[in-house]
Amino acid sequence: MTGNVAPLGRRGTGRGRLGWNLLGLLVFATAGFPVYWMLNTALKPARDAIDPDPLFFPRTFTPENFARAFEVADFWGPVGRSLAVSLVVVLIGITVGMLAALAISRFAFRGRKVVIVGILAVQMVPLVAMIIPVFLLLNDLGQYDRLTGLIITYLTFVLPFTVWTLRGFIVNIPKELEEAAMVDGCTRTGAFVRVVLPLLAPGMVATSVYAFIQAWNEYLYALMLMSQQNQTATVWLGNFTTKHGTEYAPMMAGATMMAVPVVILFLLVQRRMAAGLTAGAVKG
């Protein structure tokens, strides 16, 4: 440990930085390798993928694995279902979460602490502990194998998350701005809509994207609560086997199609998310 912290004193000097850069490149190569290998396998001809002497740089690029991934099983069905579920979950999560976040960040009231503890506590319950009663509940309600059932269950983890992160973004907006607007004649709601909401918009977008990704990535509930005909994208990929066993090249093509849009969305919002998640953590 000590060795890695050593050059703090000579930050920026040429010799020290070269070593750190090399180490950084090593981290880049290691951390990035699985992603590279996915793209590499997805893009090279399937017969090259199962070469015992793997090609590090594909000689030829081919879309054939992607075509095969569509062919193996209905790809758009699961993706469409995942999209629908995730979008509805985000819509409900953001609307309901926003109201709650406002309550705990802008109002002092009796029981506020209890509410905060409650919302945090539910994040602790592991999904797998809930799956048995949720399964039985949806079974009783006739919501087993229905997208609405899945949407309801996804709110268990998306809602506490949106409340907590939106709270982080709201507390970063000075109360004085609202107060000033109210002095100038705005109502409380008016001040919120005209002053806070525009400032909050980027945070809301980031939270939505993040919540969307959480719902999109969920596996366990989707596996348990939906039948094979109604599976979502994650379950589709998890079940990716053909008559010939697991064909890794098309599987990596499927993985690429599922991951690339998500990773791009993620790249766009991650900086803001890190800021929102830790809002108040250090300053406090």
């Binding site: 912290v5 109201l99 502990a129 048995i132 268990t156 998890g238 990596m252």
Partner: protein, 291 residues
């Protein structure tokens, strides 16, 4: 006013969490198997029978120990590697930082199921690139090596997968925290004769402590809840030596159709987590008070 704003949220949470949680507790005291599921029989109250059966089962304790070791290892690795990466990123040139950040974010955003599929492929017995790469090393022959032949080695691979997906969040969050460590404090410590380790130990760590506590607790909660990684890696049927509390509870409920027993295991898991949660709650409450 605040309660009106909170009402929809509390209502939803009560419905989607309150009810199932109550049901979970109730189930763990019931005999609930296939006939009860189909509604042919009423669930029968059995008192503590599920718990005594499970706690008296040697296999259960083996699973508990395995889960704690697995989660402990994964959390330690994640936190140490995350901290080292965050510190490293402060020291590299801008373009290296950009490259590392891209790799980190790609790993972070990667859906767990996709990451699992990739690792399955990397560690494939016959065509996995890892066996090939390792065999390039002098004196090493890993061609045809099956990483999943035994529990410890297979779980080590799964731990690697979990850590790979978890380090980015920790590194990036700690990185954000590091930028908030006051420079003057570091300078002052250095003037007082502190070495780099001293500065890290007595200035950086205390400032970052709230974030570290938060990240560690979250990691414990997530790593105790690892499911798809094991489940998919073992093609939906984890062997005995791969079972963690999550998959074990799942198997009890949905494979053996012992919903009461499965619920009892899930409840024990929740109780195990409570100790960790207490620490986390104190920290988060302190943060919540800031707003």
């Amino acid at each position: 006013m605040p309660w009106a704003l909170l009402a929809p949220c509390l209502l939803v949470l009560l419905l989607v969490l309150g009810y199932p949680l109550t049901r979970l507790v109730a189930l763990s005291f019931q005999k609930f198997e296939q006939p009860q599921l189909w509604g042919f029989q009423q669930p029968e109250q059995v008192g503590l029978a599920n718990f005594t059966r499970i706690l008296g089962d040697g296999e259960f304790w083996a699973v508990v120990v395995r889960t704690v070791l697995f989660a402990g290892g994964a959390v330690t690795l994640t936190m140490v590697l995350g901290m080292l990466t965050a510190l490293l990123l402060q020291r590299v040139s801008g373009w290296v930082k950009v490259l590392v950040n891209i790799a980190l974010v790609a790993g972070w955003g990667m859906p767990v199921i996709v990451a699992t599929a990739i690792f399955k492929w990397l560690f494939d017995t016959d065509y996995g690139v890892l066996n090939w790469l390792l065999s390039r090393l002098p004196g090493v022959d890993m061609i045809g090596h099956n990483w999943f032949a035994g529990g410890p080695q297979g779980l080590a691979v799964i731990m690697l997968l979990v850590v790979w997906g978890a380090v980015p969040f920790v590194a990036i969050t700690l990185g954000a925290g590091l930028t908030q460590v006051p420079r003057e404090l570091e300078e002052a410590a250095r003037l007082d004769g502190a070495g780099s380790w001293g500065v890290f130990r007595y200035v950086t760590l205390p400032v970052l402590k709230p974030i570290i506590v938060m990240l560690t607790t979250l990691s414990v909660i997530w790593d105790m809840g690892v499911f798809p990684q094991v489940f998919v890696m073992r093609n939906g049927h984890p062997e005995a030596e791969f079972q963690l509390l999550t998959t074990y509870s799942y198997d009890k409920a949905f494979v053996v159709n012992d919903y009461g027993g499965g619920s009892a295991i899930a409840l024990v898991t929740v109780v195990l987590l409570l100790g960790v949660v207490a620490v986390y709650m104190r920290q988060m409450l302190r943060i919540g008070e800031v707003g």
